[in-house]
């Protein structure tokens, strides 16, 4: 960490946020403090690295624009950032669905190094997750990938804790069904290809 940051490191989260509303240096410290968490969350949900960078940039620029109207309620600042990130990811998913509708082969052309390095099961899980409705994806990703509590997820998504539990339960069932069906499809393909190879 650079020496200029030491002045801000002693401040608690609330004071730092208040300073960041006016001071670019405090904003920089805030950015460095949360960049890794947000980047990790976005990259776990979004496969391609250029999309991850775009979304992360949009999250932090939205943070700057929204900071003047941010009111401290006692909830962690991280929850507010997760909410912005979730909104941006959902926007990206909608855009992606729209793009796939108009250009169905565009996804296959955009092969990313980040995506290639992933194992088959991870790719399958990510693909199945992206096929779920956004509200199930949000709940599942925050619970399983970020290890957040039901209460924190409810705060981030702005819903009741019961709703989060219901979304988790229903989302889990849907995801399992999708994973099993994609596994079966792959087995079918293998069964068809093996005899033809042997011939």
């Amino acid at each position: 960490m650079e020496p200029r940051s030491t002045k801000w490191d002693s401040l608690d989260e609330r004071e730092l946020i208040e300073s960041a509303k006016r001071d670019p240096e405090a904003l920089s410290v805030l950015y460095r403090r949360y960049y890794v968490i947000i980047h990790r969350y976005v990259s776990r949900r979004v496969a391609t690295s250029h999309d991850v960078n775009d979304i992360v940039s949009e999250v932090f620029l939205s943070m700057v624009r929204g900071l003047p109207s941010f009111r401290w309620t006692g909830a962690p600042f991280q929850a507010w950032l997760f909410r912005i990130a979730t909104t941006q990811i959902n926007r990206w998913i909608r855009k992606r669905k729209w793009l796939r509708f108009w250009a169905p082969f565009a996804d296959q052309m955009l092969v990313d190094t980040h995506q290639v390095a992933e194992s088959e099961s991870v790719q399958r899980l990510r693909k199945a997750l992206l096929e779920l409705p956004c509200h199930y994806q949000d709940a599942l990703a925050l619970f399983y990938l970020e290890d957040l509590s039901i209460q924190s997820i409810a705060e981030i998504l702005g819903v009741e804790q019961g709703t989060v539990k219901a979304r988790l339960s229903r989302g889990r069932d849907l995801l399992r069904a999708k994973l099993v069906s994609s596994e079966n499809k792959e087995l079918d393909v293998e069964r068809r290809t093996i005899p033809s190879v042997l011939e």
Binding site: S57, L67, E118
Partner: protein, 111 residues
């Protein structure tokens, strides 16, 4: 798929993106620029909004007041005599503004 396999899939996805990303210095600079330009931009629009609202309020209030003041205007009759007719100040102002506008149009356009 049982619970353990399901959890293992999630753990694998979690592990696949657990590396530490490098801070983007361009984004940091862009954020600082955004912050420094955000204040003056917001102040400008806030002032613009307040000024517009004030002007609108003054206009509406003046209209209401002018509509409640009655003035007597001498109107020339056919026989050349003058008779006083009453109208509201608002009607008086609109009538005069209209007459002046008509006169200016005739002066500049010729018809």
């Amino acid at each position: 798929m049982n619970d353990e396999q399901f959890q293992a899939c999630w753990n694998e996805l979690k592990q696949s993106s657990s590396g530490t990303p490098t801070i983007n210095p361009f984004l940091e600079e862009e954020m600082k620029t955004e912050l420094t330009t955000l204040g003056p931009r917001r102040r400008f629009w806030r002032r613009m909004l307040v000024t517009t609202a004030c002007l609108l309020a003054v206009g509406v209030l003046s209209g209401v007041i002018a509509n409640n003041i009655v003035v007597a205007t001498p109107v020339e009759q056919v026989d050349g005599t003058h008779k006083e007719e009453s109208e509201t100040l608002l009607q008086f102002i609109i009538r005069h503004a209209h007459a002046h506008a008509r006169q200016a149009h005739r002066h500049f356009m010729g018809f």
